[in-house]
Symmetry: C2
Subunit: 329 residues, 2 copies
C-alpha cells in the first residue's frame, strides 16, 4: 500500500491512498484525517485503507484524482519523534576521518540521535538555511514509521510495529557537526529539518526490496543533475527491527515515531559513490590527501530516488530540492 499527504491547510495535511501504479489517489478522510491519526489506530485503519486502495485499483472510486507528487507534503509532515540511526559502518568509518573524531563507541550498540521532528519538509520544498559557510550537506537515507511500541520491546516485537517505509534527506551543517559532537550532547544546529519523499509504503509493497528489516534497493542521489551516488540500503549493520528495539529500551515509542537508517553507504564506495558530500570528502582525504569537493551553495539542487535491484523505479517518488538563504528573522 502506498500513502501520501496532500495540503489541506492543517499542519498534518490530508491522508490519501495511492493506486498501485502511484498515478492516482483518493482521499482517506473517511478513514483518518491524517497519517498520524491513522497510525494511532493502525489495527483499525490499515484494513480500511487497504480496502480503499483495492477499490481505487479496481476503478470503482468516483473520487479518484491524479496524484501530483509535486504538490505533496511529506507523508508525515510532522512527527512526535525522529530518532536517526547511523547503521552503515562504511559511513561511520569515513565520517570519523572527515570530522577527525576518535569515537569510542561500543560496536554492539547502534548509534542513534534524536532530531527535529516537528517539521518534515515537502519533497519539493525549498530548504532555508542560515549560511553556506556552515558547510551544507544532504544525507540520503531510508526510514521506517512505527505505530505504538512498548518500552522494552525485543527486535522481533519491534519488527511487527514497522508500519511504513520512507525515503529521507537528513539535511546537515557539517561545519557545526563536529563542534556539537565534541560536547557529547548530539546535534542541534547541525541538524535542521529533514525532508521526506512523497510516498510512504507498507513493507510488503517493496516485495524483494524489503528483507532482513532492511531496504534492499539502491538510493540514487543526484547533485545539480550529476549522479553522486547509488549505494545499496541492504548494507545496514543493524536492521530497522534492531534500531526500533534500541530506541524503545527506556521509552514507549509513540505512534508515528520515525526511525532512520543513517546515510546509506557501502564499503565499495569508490564504485557506488556516496549519499552525502562529507563522505566523498573523506574518501578524497584518504585517497588524495585532501578534500576537494565543496559543500553546497545556495541555489544548488539535490535529487534522491530509490531504485529496485531489477532496475524499476522505487515506490517512494523523488525528493528534489533547492537550498536557499533563510529570510531574516
Amino acid at each position: 500500500m502506498k500513502l501520501a499527504t496532500l495540503p489541506n491547510g492543517t499542519p498534518d495535511g490530508q491522508l490519501v491512498v495511492l493506486s498501485g501504479d502511484g498515478r492516482r489517489c483518493v482521499s482517506a478522510a473517511a478513514i483518518a484525517p491524517s497519517l498520524q491519526a491513522a497510525l494511532e489506530r493502525w489495527q483499525d485503519t490499515e484494513p480500511a485503507l487497504r480496502a480503499l486502495a483495492a477499490r481505487l485499483d479496481a476503478g470503482s472510486c468516483a473520487e479518484a484524482m491524479p496524484f501530483e507528487a509535486a504538490t505533496a507534503l511529506a507523508p508525515l509532515p510532522r512527527a512526535w519523534q525522529w530518532l536517526d540511526g547511523s547503521a552503515f559502518q562504511s559511513h561511520g568509518d569515513l565520517m570519523d576521518v572527515v570530522f577527525k573524531i576518535e569515537k569510542k563507541n561500543d560496536p554492539t550498540r547502534p548509534l542513534m540521535y534524536q532530531g527535529l521532528s516537528n517539521q518534515f519538509l515537502a519533497p519539493g520544498a525549498d530548504v532555508p538555511l542560515p549560511s553556506a559557510d556552515d558547510a551544507i550537506d544532504f544525507e540520503g537515507e531510508f526510514g521506517v514509521i512505527t505505530d505504538t511500541v512498548p518500552m522494552g520491546a525485543s527486535a522481533a516485537q519491534a519488527a511487527s510495529h514497522i508500519r511504513l517505509v520512507v525515503l529521507i534527506n537528513d539535511w546537515s551543517l557539517r561545519r557545526i557537526a563536529p563542534v556539537e559532537m565534541k560536547t557529547g550532547f548530539g546535534w542541534i544546529h547541525a541538524k535542521p529539518a529533514c525532508s521526506m519523499a512523497p510516498i510512504a509504503v507498507t513493507p510488503d509493497e517493496l516485495g524483494a526490496g524489503w528483507r532482513d528489516a532492511r531496504v534492499q534497493m539502491r538510493l540514487e542521489v543526484d547533485w545539480n543533475g550529476q549522479r553522486f551516488g547509488a549505494a545499496h540500503g541492504g548494507a545496514m549493520g543493524f536492521g530497522f527491527d534492531q534500531l526500533v528495539a534500541h530506541a524503545a529500551y527506556s521509552r514507549d515509542l509513540v505512534a508515528g515515531t520515525v526511525i532512520g537508517s543513517g546515510t546509506v553507504s557501502n564499503s565499495d564506495y569508490r564504485t557506488v559513490g556516496s549519499s552525502c558530500i562529507a563522505e566523498r570528502r573523506a574518501i578524497e582525504t584518504v585517497d588524495q590527501g585532501e578534500a576537494r569537493t565543496p559543500y553546497m551553495a545556495f541555489g544548488d539542487r539535490v535529487r534522491m530516488q530509490a531504485r529496485h535491484e531489477d532496475g524499476r523505479d522505487g515506490p517512494f517518488g523523488a525528493i528534489d530540492q533547492r537550498v536557499v538563504q533563510r529570510a531574516k528573522a
Copy 2:
C-alpha cells in the same frame, strides 16, 4: 497568570486557568482546548486567558472549582520539541568528574540536547523504568515554553517569545549516559520521559523570581523525605533568552517548544546541596575519593518544589513521584 492541564481523555488534556492563590481553577475550553492550542495563537489567547483569570479572582466565575494538583497532568502533557540545556557551570564541571569525560566544548556555546518530548509525565505519576541497575537519577531544573520563534532570532527577540516558565524533573539513567556521550550522538536510553510540576506560569507571575531571563528561586529537592538540595536558579551561565536563540539558529521553533536550564547547580554545592544524585557523587569523589551515595531504588520517591527568596512557596506546585519497574513488554 497560572495555567494547568486536567485530564479529559485526550492526549493534550484540558487547559485550566488558576486563581492567583492557585487554589481554584476554571476550564479555558472556550478559549483553547489545550495549552498547546493556546500557545499556537498566543497573541489572541493570552489576553482572553488573563481576562478569565481576573474573573476567577473576582469571584465571578460560576464554573470555578477547587484546583487539585494531585489530579493534574503536566501543563504540557506532550510537546513537539524538548531542547534541554546545561547552563549551570558547576553542574557541568562536576559531571565531567563523575562520567570521567574530558569534554572539549567551546565555553561560548551553550550545551543543549534534544530529548523525548512526546510525553511529559504528570507531577504525581509513577515513573516506569527498565532496571535499577541503570543508575536511576532525578535532575531538577527550570524550563521555559515558547510560542513560535523564527529561525535566526536574536536573544532579545527570543526573550519576547518566552511565554511560560515550568519546573521539570529530567529523569536520567546514569550508567548509560557516558556510554551514549562517547558516541557524540547524545542520549536516547539515558533520557527517558521527563516530568513537569503541575502549574505553568507566565514570567510576570514570578515577580522578583524572574530576572535576567533566569528563575531567581531555589529549587528544593527531597529524596525519600530528606532534603537533598536547594540550589538557586539564578546561577545559569546562559539565560533562557540565550538558550532559546541558540536553539533557533538553524530551525524555526514550533509553538510549545520546551527549553530546559539543565540541572540547577551552584558553586557552593557543599552548602546548598545538589539537584541530582550524580552531582553529589561527583562531590564525594572529589572530597572523599569515591562516590558513596547510591542511585535510586524502585519505590524511592523524589519531591521538587521551588521557593522564592523571601521564603514563600514557589508558584509551580510540586513534583512528587515514585520510580517503579516497568511492565514487561
